[in-house]
Symmetry: C2
DNA sequence: GGGAATATTCCC
DNA sequence: GGGAATATTCCC
């Protein structure tokens, strides 16, 4: 059983090994290297037999590439470089790395750093971040909106604390006022009892 | 070129398609189905030629399985079911689904719901969640602790609101007390002026 | 063993 | 096109 043939991409695995994050500049993502390899190797094939229809090639400017025949491309070429033969998976990867489809009637793709003859630029292409849009993937939408609401409330937290502080201050002032009134009351009552003498029924009616 | 042979796992792709989340119970994760298939099919092989050394098999109790020969297993069997021939990738998947290595000198693995003759249990096995330990992967530790702190503060938010409400209530009560005292003061002063007549200097000294 | 990046699939 | 689940790789 020709296992080597079955798992072609495994061979260059070591060459493409990416050592940690800092060494990133040295070594482009495998997908990009492989796609570039594919185009270079196919370009050679195209040059050999010019009469034949091309399956895939760089565009004339070398600023992108065209898959002229998606069916043959998927069946014959993809499995040589990747672990699948699905055109849509290939497209998905292109999108992940920020390639753009630049023609409506042709499978032509471009990326500013994916140019014929410029393999060194590949290392500067990064996967699109899975958008710092919000929250962990394991949360369902309802949980996310809860969190979102929470965060908004978090902003109100400062306002709450401020209001809280103001309320405490107000309370203190009110309590001082009341203390003052109590003293006043006592004094007034004293005064009343002094002035009026002892007919208590008169004072009683005030309360 | 025998493309079908190259991408064996693609064949049963449609059978294994998992339609949405709710239909989850119907259809186990491909990894589990394939591993189960592998064991069943290999069991048949083992029965055919009993003299040969087994590469992989259910354990005697049927409560798990043993990879007797990792090298042959990886080279010959893995590529028939998966898109690779790496024993370590296979192990990684087992761990992802919660299998345990249950022997020190043998590659024997068990999972409570992975039993010989119980294919229906497979659908109850779930991937380990990427641990709801905390936060999105793209956050660095400092950002995570910030979020953590925020969340703690978020808990205090409720307390703040409660205290706030209490303070408002208290304020209202205090204001009512003050209103009462003011009325009282007015009445006392009226009373005083009635009783004492007009020697105002006496009243003045109270304030 | 498992975290995390990349790859592949599936689905909207 | 891209979100998200699963698979594969790489590394600690």
């Amino acid at each position: 059983m020709a296992t080597d043939a079955i798992l072609a991409p495994a061979d260059d695995r070591n060459i493409n090994r990416r050592i940690g994050r800092p060494a990133r500049t040295k070594c482009p993502p495998p997908f990009l290297s492989k796609t570039y390899d594919l185009l270079e190797e196919q370009e050679e094939e195209n040059n050999k037999c010019k009469e034949q229809n091309k399956v895939v090639s760089w565009n004339v400017e070398g600023s992108g590439f065209v898959v002229w025949c998606p069916a043959e491309f998927s069946e014959l070429m993809l499995p040589k470089y990747f672990k699948h033969n699905n055109f849509s998976s290939f497209i998905r990867q292109l999108n992940t790395y920020g390639f753009k489809k630049v023609a409506s009637k042709r499978w032509e793709f471009q990326h500013i750093k994916f140019q014929k003859g410029c393999r060194h630029l590949l290392a500067e292409i990064a996967r699109k971040k899975c958008e710092p849009s919000a929250f962990p993937a394991y949360l369902n939408p309802s949980e996310k909106s809860t969190l979102l609401a929470r965060n908004e409330e978090n902003t109100t937290r400062e306002l709450l604390m401020e209001e809280n502080q103001n309320l405490r201050k107000e309370r203190l002032e009110l309590q001082m006022q009341i203390a003052h009134f109590k003293t006043l009351e006592v004094k007034l009552l004293q005064c009343l009892s002094q002035c009026v003498g002892s007919p208590q029924n008169k004072t009683r009616r005030l309360f």
